[in-house]
Symmetry: C2
């Protein structure tokens, strides 16, 4: 039997961008999956804790998740319109964060970096329509 966690993970993998727990739940139900909202939340958390999916917060405080191609540290370029996401790297940013933290006497430095924009197909749409 496919564990629910895998089912959640699969659902996420089929998505282009970041999806909320509620989104994932709704989609799974629509496809006939028998699963509860609580379980989706738990699965998502477990996946996130294990580093199998990335999490970020939308402007209105919702947590959104995404199954990324790599487990390596990376950042995201997210279309603010359709949510399409590109994984990007930025060694320069990593170094900058580390440096700036150290310079001020901080230790155990971590950072969050997200880039937002309007993707080409969305800006086309807005010009046309």
């Amino acid at each position: 039997m496919t564990t629910r966690r895998d089912a959640v993970h699969d659902t996420l993998r089929q998505s282009e961008g970041f999806r909320s727990a509620q989104d994932v739940y709704a989609e799974m139900r629509q496809h006939g999956a028998k699963i509860g909202l609580t379980t989706v939340y738990r699965a998502l958390q477990a996946l996130a804790d294990g580093g199998h999916v990335d999490v970020l917060r939308t402007d209105d405080g919702e947590s959104v998740y995404r199954a990324c191609a790599t487990g390596e540290h990376h950042h995201h370029l997210v279309c603010r319109r359709c949510g399409r996401t590109v994984e990007v790297e930025g060694p320069a940013v990593e170094r900058w964060a580390e440096t700036v933290g150290t310079e001020h006497g901080f230790t155990e430095i971590t950072h969050t970096v997200e880039v937002f924009g309007t993707c080409s197909s969305c800006s086309r749409t807005s010009l046309a329509g």
Copy 2:
């Protein structure tokens, strides 16, 4: 009469780091201010909209605010223990975000960058205690 918004702004100015709406409210009440929670929320939003204070989200989804020295675009180095915050600039990061977005055909690029760490006095404390 000092408008409530100014009172909220002042309270924020006296803080070292980022404070939540509830924090600000509690502190104002403690100092004898007659103000409602709703008003604090509204004032904080207005201040944020006007670019007079910076906002960010804690890991648990709470919005926290800070009256920053400058209205210019800048980022923060925040102590994850005590919340002490240093304002930092990173021209390299700005350029990187812009470049990476443009390369992928995105327009109207914005970004969020926050650096977290443990400040020197907090790491001393943890070693001692």
